[in-house]
């Protein structure tokens, strides 16, 4: 289904959704930084900037409580979180690189153990993608086979038009249902031209070749030259739309506390630190190798997908300028 929505009606749509109690999550300025956050009013949406963090946290929050406990005398009371109480959500203004990561996450959260925290939010969320019209030299979605108009992962996809408004195209029942729920705000598509798409500068990687090299080079001096300078923070993983490692900790006192799940990162020294004191990834290059391996080999081995959508966030935000696009490009040029 293809429709047109004017800028004015788009604002009205968001306000209407908010009013009816739907959680509307969109890029929004938060203490100086644009993040995907629930809106209190449509006017808060910032459409022209790539949010600093990805859209994954609409389903896979930075930190969430999964259980609480309380001891009284010899009794221990455990209280679970009921995912059924998660709110209906519209995630809107999602960049193609963020939206394309959602099916990637679907795979890992449902292949063996069904993660109800993720899946319930996923069921209750309608994803509205937004075509990208600007790119910088960190953007490389096209290099990993995604385009600035990629609709993968979106239930509804918006393309900004010359002269304002959006062309809307639905790709699922959820997308269609969203249009139908406020059909008065949508019109039939006009002949207006879409704004020109962003043009990332990176050439398409030969991901097969990259994987072929990775298959053979778990041990390779290249890892040292790539990542000796890595300082071991979690910035790359935390801003990544596809990274999905998490840690579970109990916080509180012996008497009372909560079990929480929060993002983890393979760059951390603690990530593979065993209780024995041994750490199989004892040096930073080994940890960074895992990041590349996971994205371009292990995930492919398991799910036939690449765990990178080319958003470029890790490149922009790496404290020491590690450039995953440059690394993959370099690997793709190596003899297999």
């Amino acid at each position: 289904m293809q429709k047109y929505i004017s800028q004015q009606n788009f604002t009205a749509l968001l306000d209407a959704l908010i009013k009816q109690g739907t959680r509307v999550v969109a890029p929004k300025l938060n203490a100086g930084t644009v993040l995907y956050e629930p809106l209190a009013a449509a006017g808060e949406m910032v459409a022209d900037q790539l949010p600093r963090r990805s859209g994954k946290e609409a389903f896979f929050p930075l930190c969430e409580e999964i259980m609480s406990y309380e001891k009284t005398g010899q009794q221990v009371a455990l209280t679970d979180i009921d995912p059924a109480r998660f709110p209906e959500t519209v995630l809107i203004g999602v960049r193609p690189c963020d939206a394309a990561a959602i099916p990637v996450l679907d795979a890992v959260f449902s292949w063996d153990y069904k993660d109800e925290f993720f899946l319930e939010r996923r069921r209750k969320t309608t994803v509205v993608g937004l075509a990208c019209t600007t790119a910088d030299d960190a953007c490389f979605c096209t290099a990993v086979g995604i385009s600035p108009a990629e609709t993968r992962g979106s239930d509804l996809f918006l393309s900004p038009l010359v002269g304002g408004g959006y062309r809307c195209e639905s790709y699922s029942d959820k997308g269609e249902a969203l249009i139908n729920s406020h059909s008065a705000l949508f019109a039939e598509p006009s002949g207006a031209e879409a704004l020109p798409l962003a043009e990332p500068q990176t050439e398409k990687f030969d991901l097969k070749k990259v994987k072929a090299w990775l298959d053979e080079h778990f041990e390779d001096p290249a890892w040292d030259s790539i990542a000796t300078r890595c300082v071991g923070c979690g910035a790359c993983a935390f801003v990544c739309p596809a990274c999905h490692c998490f840690d579970i900790v109990d916080e509180g006192t012996e008497k009372k506390g909560k079990r929480r799940k929060s993002w983890d990162a393979c760059g951390f020294w603690k990530f593979t630190h065993h209780a024995s004191g041994h750490n199989p990834r004892d040096q930073q290059p080994k940890r960074y190798r895992n990041r590349i391996m996971h994205k371009f080999k292990y995930y492919d081995d398991k799910f036939g997908q690449t765990l990178c959508t080319g958003c470029g966030r890790c490149i922009r935000l790496c404290p020491v300028g590690i450039d995953i696009a440059a690394i993959v490009e370099e690997i793709s040029k190596k003899e297999v």
Binding site: Y36, E37, C63, T79
Partner: protein, 166 residues
């Protein structure tokens, strides 16, 4: 006859970190002398104020303290030569940090109470308790403790409802 006990609607939690040689002994003296003071204070004994890590003060506020007292030997009286001098510097700086992040320093009291100053102990504890009582509960850290990070935002109606259910 004892004077009529005033009843208060708010009973603050006051935590005192004290050294064993001076202030703890001073508090013992207050007891031996049967002096009276509000029952709000809970005393944690350390060998020396030099042992008191600023993190403990932070932890106390996080655990719901409305006021924190740190007390040790007068300068020059330290049983361990200089522990209180090190503590004095440490806390001179730490209180400035807490102030800068927005903690009202009226909730954080430092004092020197010697083993002979039972009366001063009573005065310091009473003053702090009454001052904090007048200020009302320390809500800042308690509110933080209740907040969950959930998609970056914490004050949506749904979440508020979720909290009230939890």
């Amino acid at each position: 006859m004892h004077p009529e006990k005033t009843s208060h609607t708010f009973e603050p939690k006051v935590i005192a970190f004290v050294c064993t040689w001076c202030t703890y002994a001073g508090a013992d003296l207050a007891g031996t002398s049967r002096m009276q003071y509000p029952s709000n204070v809970r005393v944690l004994k350390f060998p020396c104020t030099g042992r008191i890590d600023p993190v403990f003060i932070l932890k106390a506020f996080q655990q719901g303290a409305d006021g924190v007292l740190v007390s040790g030997c007068h300068p020059g009286d330290c049983h361990y030569i200089a522990g209180n001098f090190h503590a004095r510097r440490r806390f001179a700086v730490f209180r400035k940090l807490l102030e800068f992040v927005g903690v009202d320093l009226n909730r954080l009291q430092f004092s020197w109470v010697s083993a002979a100053e039972g009366g001063k102990w009573v005065e310091v504890v009473t003053d702090l308790t009454e001052r904090v009582r007048a200020m009302g509960p320390m809500t800042e850290f308690k509110e933080l403790a209740l907040e969950e990070q959930w998609s970056g935002v914490i004050d949506t109606p749904e979440l508020k409802e979720a909290f009230s259910q939890i």
